[in-house]
């Protein structure tokens, strides 16, 4: 199966997914949606990692660096989601909003 699909397909998919996620994090108003955009970007990166492991590794069994890296990224994503959502809830409590545009305490 793997020989039938070029690496470029996976890379292009990952790039598209990354751009979608980036757009979500740059353009959405809702802080939770911003976090979701970040999750999309992380997933796109993981696709890249796994694809490079699969296509580039000389011995996919012995050298599992791509998989391990992806695992750590997933772990970090989980941590990031937990902290981010906690922050969102805390801000919501104190300022009664999750609109990123209204959260501008540093504004001149």
């Amino acid at each position: 199966m793997i020989n039938d699909i070029p690496l470029n397909y996976f890379l292009s998919l990952a790039a598209a997914l990354f751009c979608i996620g980036l757009f979500g994090s740059l353009a959405r108003k809702n802080a939770i949606a911003v976090l979701m955009g970040i999750e999309l970007m992380l997933n796109a990166v993981n696709i890249n990692l796994v694809a490079f492991w699969r296509y580039g590794s000389p011995d996919p069994i012995l050298n599992q660096a791509g998989i391990v890296f992806a695992l750590f990224v997933i772990t970090l994503a989980a941590a990031e989601a937990a902290i981010g959502l906690a922050l969102v809830i805390a801000i919501y409590r104190s300022r009664d909003t999750v609109n990123v545009e209204e959260i501008n305490l540093l504004k001149w």
Binding site: L22, S25, L26, V100, I103, N104, L106, K107, W108
Partner: protein
């Protein structure tokens, strides 16, 4: 070691002054006792110093008691110190001043109580309304005199000198305002006292200015005002450095003359003697204080203190000592003549004081230092005695006019006796104090003028003749005073009835002073010149002055007979005119037969009208020609100051204001504009620039992405081309 406490001597009377003035002025008797206590303490300490000085003997002249421990103020690398200096003459003054002052103080306790007849015919005694103030002022007077005597430098001396000037002003004018209760003062007296105090103050001020000028020049040329440093040979020689100030007049002469100017005013020498007779308007104890112990003595003491300067000047060819001798000799006879025609018992004494001070200065001027100094001491005692006795008479009789007295010796024998002793001393009759000191002066003048080895000196001969004549006239007017006051028949029955013997607090001081007057002369007889050995042996502070001392010789014997003869001659003439045929009631003075001469004498040669300040009996006063000229000058100066000087000043001020406005405009519109402009431009830019800080995280992220992309594109362009 009492000498180390010398500086405390003036402190006691000054402290008494402060206490009375600040605390006890409403308590008359207490104030008097505080004042007396202050003088007693000062006297005790002074006597301690005096005895210690006596024990030193002639050594003291070489090594005087000296200490200047209190740093007053520094100038440059040196300092002016506040301290004390007691040389033999200073110690003699320390004995004389507090003793006489104490007598005057005790005397004042009773004298300042006035008696008058009340409405119901009873005699009422009451204190003077400003009784405590009187004691405060005489304490200040005494304290400053003591400070002057012990001063270690001329500036300190000058301060005490000026305080005395103020005290004399305040005390001469003591009755210059009148409270409701004061029956013994009439309006005329108030006017006279007021005018007299101003006259005394302003006249002495002339001398003070001269003295201060001399002091400044002295400081410039010598570089110090400390007596011991000043009178070291180096200090005096400093004065000869540099160009002479005016023509051939050398620095020492000029300075000595300026300082002598202070003496002329303070010691009432011609031509500034005019204030002293009018100073009789003060209470009698004040007159005694001024004439005996303090004010006028200070003037003589200044010459004594500065004597090395005068001697140095005459050694280097100056004429300051000749000037002193000339003015002293002239004043001695001039004032004596004026004393002849006075009817006021105190004014006679005033002129005799002027005359006697002339004696002292003449003696100092011809080089008879010891004789002049000794006369200062003896004169203080017998003149205080005379004034206090005359005051007792005035107090008892109620008038100053001798022509209204007469025959008083029966009424007040003790006062008469003490006055007699004082009068004999003044005339110079054996064995009283005046005889010895006056004889000494005449002897010195005789010796230096006619029998000097260096040839005859015309000036000294003039001085001798002048002094001898003055001695004769002195005996004459003193005799006149005696006969008019105490002998003959009462010329005014009312005053005679009013008279009574003095109370004990008045006659005890008189008796003590009379005792001193009797014995003090034996301190320096021609046979045993103890005072000469003490004061004159080794010269003066720092500068040995060659005094010629002569053993008792034929000339001294002759001199004794001459002076006794002159004195008895004067007394005899006085008896011939006034005692042989006493002046009856309402009769004019026999001297009035002299006509124009008498009128000239009575009006004091019209000097008051000429350049002084004439005070009339009714209390009005009239300025003399010179004073009026000065008044005109000052009015012109005022006009000049107001219109021209002020005009210039105002013009400068106006110009300054215009310039300031111009500058203000420039500052406001140009400099401020630059400053504010730079600030607001910065503010504008910052206000526009800061909007970058949106506070929106997504903005930042977008910019970060754009930046990253920009770098990526750059990188790609480089790697693919």
């Amino acid at each position: 070691m009492v000498q180390n406490f010398t500086l405390l001597i003036p402190l006691f009377p000054l402290l008494a002054f402060a206490i009375i003035a600040l605390l006890t002025r409403s308590r008359n008797r207490l104030s008097a006792w505080i004042a007396i206590l202050g003088v007693i303490l000062a006297l005790a300490l002074s006597l301690g110093v005096f005895l210690e000085a006596l024990a030193e003997g002639a050594e003291l002249a070489v090594n005087p008691f000296y200490g200047a421990p209190i740093v007053w103020y520094p100038y440059g690398t040196a300092t002016v110190n506040f301290g004390w200096l007691v040389d033999p003459m200073g110690s003699a003054m320390l004995f004389m001043v507090p003793t006489v002052c104490l007598m005057i103080f005790i005397y004042s306790v009773a004298y300042m109580r006035h008696s008058h007849t009340g409405k119901d015919g009873h005699t009422i005694h009451e204190d003077d309304p400003r009784y405590a103030r009187f004691f405060a002022l005489i304490s200040l007077f005494t304290g400053s005199m003591l400070l002057l005597v012990i001063s270690s430098n001329l500036l300190q001396f000058f301060i005490a000198w000026e305080i005395m000037g103020f005290c004399s002003y305040a005390l001469i004018g003591f009755w210059s305002f009148r409270g409701l209760k004061e029956h013994h003062i009439d309006d005329a007296q108030v006017g006279r006292a007021r005018a007299a105090s101003i006259k005394a103050f302003l006249t002495t001020r002339v001398g003070d200015v001269l003295l201060m000028t001399g002091m400044i020049l002295l400081f410039i040329t010598v570089g110090t005002l400390d007596f011991t440093q000043m009178f070291s040979p180096d200090g005096l020689n400093n004065m000869l450095l540099g160009e002479p100030p005016i023509g051939a007049l050398q620095w020492p002469t000029l300075i000595a003359l300026l300082i002598f100017g202070g003496t002329v005013a303070k010691s009432a020498q011609f031509p500034l003697h005019i204030w002293l007779p009018d100073a009789m308007e003060g209470p009698t104890p004040v007159s005694a204080l001024i004439h005996a112990a303090t004010m006028v003595s200070a003037g003589i003491f200044l010459v004594i203190r500065m004597y090395p300067l005068f001697v140095f000047d005459s050694q280097t060819g100056g004429f300051s000592m000749q000037t002193v001798a000339l003015i002293g000799g002239f004043t001695a006879i001039f004032a004596a003549v004026l004393g002849l025609a006075q009817n006021d018992i105190k004014r006679v004494l005033a002129f005799s004081t002027v005359s006697q001070l002339g004696y002292m200065l003449a003696a100092l001027g011809i080089g008879a230092f010891v004789a002049g100094s000794f006369h200062l001491i003896t004169h203080a005692f017998f003149k205080a005695l005379l004034f206090l006795a005359a005051g007792a008479v005035i107090h008892a009789v109620g008038t100053n006019d001798m022509l209204k007295m007469g025959g008083l010796w029966r009424k007040m024998p003790i006062t008469f006796l003490t006055f007699l002793i004082g009068a004999l001393a003044l005339m110079g009759i054996f064995p009283f104090a005046g005889f010895w000191s006056k004889d000494e002066i005449l002897l010195e003048a005789l010796r230096l003028g006619f029998f000097s080895e260096s040839g005859a000196a015309p000036l000294v001969q003039f001085v001798f003749i002048s002094l001898a004549t003055a001695a004769f006239i002195t005996a004459l007017y003193t005799g006149r005073q005696l006969f008019l006051t105490f002998f003959g028949k009462p010329r005014d029955q009312h005053f005679y009835d009013h008279a009574h013997e003095s109370p004990v607090t008045i006659w005890v001081p008189l008796a003590i002073l009379a005792l001193f007057t009797t014995v003090i002369g034996f301190w320096n007889t021609p046979f045993a010149p103890a005072f000469t050995g003490y004061v004159g042996e080794a010269g003066l502070v720092g500068l040995p002055v060659p005094f010629e001392h002569h053993a008792f010789d034929q000339l001294a014997l002759i001199s004794i007979f001459v002076s006794l003869g002159i004195a008895f001659g004067g007394l005899f003439v006085a008896y011939f005119i006034y005692g042989f045929r006493p002046v009856g009631a309402g009769q004019p003075d026999p001297l009035e037969r002299l006509g124009i001469i008498y009128r000239a004498l009575a009006s004091k040669f019209w000097l008051d009208e000429l350049y002084g300040y004439k005070i009339n009996l009714d209390g009005t006063a009239r300025a003399g020609l010179l004073v009026r000229f000065v008044g005109l000058l000052s009015r012109f100066s005022y006009w000049f100051d107001r219109t021209i000087v002020d005009g210039l000043v105002n013009l400068v001020g106006w110009f300054g204001r215009i310039m300031a406005r111009l500058w203000g405009w420039f500052d406001k519109h140009v400099i401020d504009a630059i400053v504010n402009g730079s600030g607001s431009v910065t503010g504008e830019i910052a206000g526009w620039w800061r909007t970058m800080q949106t506070g929106n995280v997504q903005n930042y992220a977008l910019i970060a992405v754009a930046g990253a992309m920009a770098f990526a594109i750059l990188f790609l362009l480089r790697s693919f081309t």
